[in-house]
Each structure stands twice: as C-alpha cells, then as structure tokens.
C-alpha cells in the first residue's frame, strides 16, 4: 500500500523541483539548457585585426585542449567582429546578452571598446572578461569586469625603474593619444622622475595615423638618452622602420618602452633594427618555463606561421578563468560566476598570476626583456623581473 503513495509523492516533488528550477533560471528555460555560451567580441578586421586573430586562436586552443564540456554542459564560443568600432562593440554585447543569453562576455581589443560594453555587463549582470584592453580604469567601469591581460601602469613602471638604473638620465616619451597611452606616459614619467631622471618632452601621436616622421624628428632634436614608446599592438613594425630611417639609433637614442612596440606577432618581420630594444612587459613568447614552452608549441601547431603574443595569453588565461569559474558554479552565471572568477590563482604561460578579488584586476610578474636573436629569429629575452606587480593605477 505504501509503495504507490510514495511514488506519487515523488512525482509531485520532482514536478515541483522542475518548476522551481525553471522559475529560478529563466535564462535557460527558452534556450537549450545544456549549452553554455561565451560571447567573444574582438576586432577581427580593421587596423587592429592582429589582436583579434591572436585572441581567437588562443581561445580556441584552450577549448581544444580542455574539451568543450564544463559541468556536464557544452560550451559554445560565439565570436563577433566589432572591427575596432566602439558603437559596434556595444551593440554586439547587447545582442549577445539579450538574444544569445551568454554566461560571459569576453575579448575587447581596445580600451574604448571595453568601456563601451561595460554598461551592458552591469545591466545584464553578466561577467565581462577583458582579454586585451589595458587602461587601468577599465575595471572600475563596471563591477562585473575581470581582467586577464595587463595594465599599462603595471608594464610602464618596470622599464622606468630599469632606465633610471642604467645610465638613462634624460628620456622623451612618445605615446599614442588615447587611454592606455596616457596611462603609460603618466606612470613612466612619475616613476622615472622619482628616480632622478628628467623628461624634457612628452609627445603624443593620433591613434589612426601611422606617419611618425614629424614626431620622431622632434625626439631626435631633443637629443635624449632614450625615447619611451607606447603603441597599440600591431603598429610597431611601421614605427621601427621610421625610427631607423630617421637615424635615431645612430644618433645614440635608445628605444625603450612597454612590450607592445616589440610585439611577438610582428617582431620577426622587423629586421635587425629591433636588436637591443629594452622593454618591460608581462609576457614574451621566449619566457622560459615548461608551461610556456608547451603553450607556444601547441599554439604554433594549431596556427602555423603565427607566434603567440601577449594578446593571445590574455585570451588563453581569460578562457581558463571562465572555465574554472563555470566548474565551480556548475554552469550558473551572473553574480555566482563573477564571485568564482575573483581570487583565482594559477600558473599561466607567463608565470604565476592572481585575479585580485578586490580590484578584479590581474596581479602578475613584469619582466624586463631585450630583443636578441635566438636560433636566427628575433625574440624578447627576459633578463630581470619585478615579482607580483599589482596595478599601480588602483592605489590613487
């Protein structure tokens, strides 16, 4: 007599639980409940396409290595091209959140693009993983932003310290005139002045003009010991050529900067003029660690003729952060996913990193590197490091 009653009660309970689950997770009710979508917005065309290509390749590599299943659900990566236009980024972010119901937004090649999508993350309560853009203030634009790339202040203070200790007394800065460039200039100059250097000129160039001739002439006329340069990823080759053409190297002006100038993606094509350039950055394809050697080999096996650069590592680690957080939350999104992303400590190809729970920004080692020939090809060879650098832009 008891058995049928028990079954009936169990069925009722199950039905109740199902109804509750449906109510609690309206996002999944309409869509397939067994897929987790990640929206990757990148500049795949336009002048910053190299950033997009690198990050997409790295994200796909992570998925190929770690499988497309997390917490029993299939992960689907939706890649959208914003061509580097902020309006488009915002629209795509909205579509991904509203129509595709993604659990996380990721990518964001340039600062203005990340800032355009920030309000969408806040309103949609969707975690947003910045894999590239590097202005310090981005993580303050929304409490849902996590960053896995780097910040310019982080990278710039490394070379400022090194320059002051290596007989560079007078430096001119030359940065691209937008968020990260201004960050780089400010933090380099502050740290360099603190260490007793002088900065007679601070020059800025427009984002979309690759003609550096007048600015380089100005650098040359100021006759500094070194010129500190920040350029967005991808413009380094054109700059390096004009640097040599104008004879700045022969005039005894050293080229220093953050690692964007000697980006691994294009370094091999720059020619010998890049030899000896000293920069500070968080990643070099020549970083000596088993994890990185494995990463570079796998990346190049999947993408022949491409060398992974710092953008790719931001994408690779970004996918890792999303995957591990989804494992923790068993596939739930929103606040829970955000909480699971905070505080992750792991070994990245670039070394040990931490997602600071308080600032949601990445804490990592900054390396001082010099361009050298390794087996006939140009690489950034690391020779010094600052351990566990927190973004200096957050302490103000």
């Amino acid at each position: 007599m008891t058995t049928p009653r028990l079954t009936a009660r169990r069925i009722t309970l199950n039905a109740l639980a199902l109804a509750a689950a449906t109510l609690l997770a309206p996002g999944f009710a309409g869509a397939q409940a067994d897929t987790l979508k990640i929206g990757l917005i990148l500049p795949m065309t336009g002048p910053f396409a190299s950033t997009g290509r690198q990050i997409e390749a790295a994200a796909r590599l992570w998925m190929a290595q770690n499988g497309a299943k997390v917490a029993g659900k299939t992960v689907e990566l939706i890649v959208k091209d914003d061509a580097g236009v902020a309006d488009t980024t915002r629209r795509l972010a909205q579509e991904l959140v509203v129509n595709d119901k993604v659990v996380a937004l990721a990518g964001f090649g340039l600062t203005p693009l990340a800032l355009a999508a920030a309000p969408v993350a806040t309103q949609g309560k969707t975690p947003l993983v910045v894999m590239a853009a590097a202005t310090s203030s981005i993580t303050e634009a929304s409490p849902y932003i996590i960053r896995t790339s780097f910040t310019l202040p982080q990278a710039a203070i490394g070379i400022a310290e090194w320059a002051a200790k290596n007989k560079i007394k007078k430096a001119v800065t030359m940065v691209t005139d937008y968020g990260p460039g201004i960050d780089a200039e400010k933090f380099f100059v502050d740290r360099f002045l603190l260490n007793g250097g002088t900065v007679p000129e601070k020059l800025r160039t427009p984002l979309r003009s690759p003609d550096f001739a007048p600015v380089l002439q100005k650098v040359r006329d100021a006759q500094p010991d070194a010129v500190f340069v920040f350029l967005p990823s991808g413009q380094g080759a054109a700059f390096m050529k004009q640097f040599a053409e104008r004879g700045l190297d022969r005039a005894g002006i050293k080229l220093i900067g953050t690692g964007d100038v000697v980006d691994d993606d294009i370094l091999a094509d720059m020619g010998d003029v890049a030899l000896g350039v000293v920069t500070s950055h968080h990643y070099s394809a020549a970083h000596k660690s088993p994890a990185n050697q494995k990463y570079v080999a796998a990346f190049q096996a999947a993408n022949p003729k491409m060398r992974p650069n710092f953008m790719s590592v931001g994408g690779y680690d970004g996918m890792r952060v999303i995957y591990k957080a989804l494992e923790t939350t068993k596939g739930a999104g929103g606040e829970a996913l955000l909480a699971a992303m905070k505080g992750q400590i792991f070994e990245s190809p670039r070394g040990q990193v931490l997602i600071d729970a308080q600032t949601r920004d990445i804490v990592q080692d900054i390396y001082i590197r010099r361009v050298e020939k390794v087996n006939g090809a140009l690489y950034n060879v690391e020779f010094d490091a600052m351990k566990g650098v927190k973004d200096p832009g957050k302490n103000r």
Binding site: P47, A49, R204, P214, Q217, A237, A238, R246, G247, I266
Partner: protein, 289 residues
C-alpha cells in the same frame, strides 16, 4: 628646420601625384571621381604583391604599378564611368563612393585588413646629413627619390598638356566636346586615355606612398579628404595649381605636427578653410567660371 621642410616637400609631392588624376578628371572632364583613392590603393597592393610574393626588385615593380591601375581605369571608364558623365554631380558622387566601398571590402577580403609591411631596397634606406644645429638637413634617400620622380612627372605632364597634339586635343575636347568632335577629334578616346593616365598616376602615387602613408584597405577613405583638399585649394585647371597646393599642404601638415602636435591633423583643415574663405575659387585659378 630644413629637415622638416624637406620632409614636407616629399609629403606634398606624394600628395600631388596621388591627387593629380583627380584634378584632371574633375577639372578637365567635369567628373567627380571619389573612387580615385581606390586606384591608388590598387597601385600600392600591386607593388606589395610583386615585391613580397613575386620577389620583383622595387624599380622593376614601379612601372607595373602604373600600368595595372591604368588598364583597370580604362576598363572601368569604358564600362561604368562613361554613362555617368552626363549625370548630375550627386549621382556621380554616390556612384563613385559606392565603388570605393566595394574596393575597400574586396581588398579586405583578398589581402586581409592589416597594414602591409614593405621592405625597400637598401640603397633607398640610406640617409645623409648636412650641417648641424637648427639648420641641419637630414635627407632620407627614399624621400629624395620621391621628390625626384614627382618633379619629373610634373614637368613631363606639363609638357604633354601644353606642347603636344594630344594636349591641345584634350583641352579642346574639354572646352567644347561638341565642336571638338565636329572637328574630327575622337573625344571618347581622348577621355578614355586621360582617365587611364589619371588612374595610372594614382596607382604610382599609391605605390610610392605605401611606405610613408601606410597601406591598408581603408586607404582610399583615409586619404580621400586630402585629395579633395588639394583639388579645392589648388583649383583644377592647371597642373601648377594642385602642385603648389599639395606642397603647401604637405609642408603645413609636417610643420603642424612638429610645432603644434596637440592640434595634429587639424592644421590642414584650418588652412583649407582660411584659403577657401579668402579665395573660394581656389588659390591658383584665374577666375570662377
């Protein structure tokens, strides 16, 4: 100072060759061809393809950069442009800007959207320096090469227009196509040739400029404004007008970026507005028609 002046002249010369074809079609044929930059881009990509994939030497590849856009221009003139000559200017503008967008998308698809990196031969990468202090003159071999080529082109074209039979036929065909045709001048062929040469010159300019201006699929849109400024300021009735206008713009741009970097590219536009307020018909036009 002198270095800047020299850089400005080289930049201006480049603008001149790039814009000359536009001045010719606009002034002589009364046709507004906003797709002009697309022919320049074609020249640039021909150079990149020949040098990077074909392994051609720089000097051998340059003439091809003239010929290919010229043929392309001729083919398009015969098929697409000719029916547009009689249409109102708005139709011409819409038609040619549409063509530009198609060219941008096509090149993006075929060649990728990243900036092309050109390796010039070593003899063009030298640099000579004279004097010292503020009067030091630094001359980059490549920029000198550009100046020499462009001066030669300007002189050659001036001679072609004023001294040859073709030149007088062209001027006649422009002044009054009906009477010119009645006198037995093959107006259509004259226009076809002129358009082809204009496109070829743009291609050559694009090839020469690939290293200095940068070359990516957005090239025609990025520099369209500059071409139009050259034509607006210089007037389109002679060769000297655009030449002087281009030099003025080039020098102003370089000096502006050096002395007033905050204003950046703004200088050029200010200059244009001032000049056009002062002389709306253009600096070097005799009078408005």
């Amino acid at each position: 100072m002198l270095t800047l002046l020299f850089d400005g002249i080289a930049y201006g010369m480049l603008l001149f060759v790039l814009a000359l074809g536009l001045a010719v079609t606009m002034g002589l044929m009364n046709f507004i061809n906003l797709a002009h930059g697309a022919f320049a881009m074609a020249g640039g990509y021909v150079l990149v393809l020949l040098m990077q994939r074909g392994g051609w030497p720089f000097l051998a590849a340059l003439p091809v950069c003239f010929v290919v856009p010229a043929l392309l221009g001729a083919a398009l003139e015969r098929t697409l442009y000719r029916p547009m000559y009689r249409k109102p200017h708005l139709d011409q503008v819409l038609f040619s800007i549409g063509l530009t967008f198609m060219a941008v998308a096509a090149v993006d698809y075929a060649m990728g959207s990243s900036q092309q990196n050109l390796q010039l031969p070593d003899w063009l990468r030298q640099r000579w320096e004279f004097g010292s202090g503020p009067w030091m003159l630094g001359v980059g071999a490549y920029r000198l090469f550009i100046v020499v080529v462009c001066v030669a082109l300007a002189l050659g074209l001036q001679a072609l227009l004023t001294r040859t039979r073709f030149g007088s036929r062209l001027r006649a065909a422009v002044d009054d196509p009906v009477v010119a045709a009645g006198l037995g001048i093959p107006v259509n062929r004259v226009f076809l040739l002129t358009f082809a040469v204009g496109s070829g010159l743009a291609g050559l300019g694009g090839a020469l400029g690939a290293d200095i201006l940068g070359l990516d699929p957005s090239f025609p849109l990025k520099f369209m404004v500059y071409f139009l400024i050259v034509c607006a300021v210089g007037g389109t009735q002679s060769i000297t007008g655009p030449l002087l206008a281009a030099l003025l713009l080039g020098i102003a741009d370089v000096f502006g970026k050096y002395y007033l970097p905050k204003l950046g590219g703004f200088i050029v536009y200010t200059l244009m507005i001032v000049i056009l307020l002062w002389r709306p018909q253009g600096l070097f036009t005799r009078e408005a028609r």
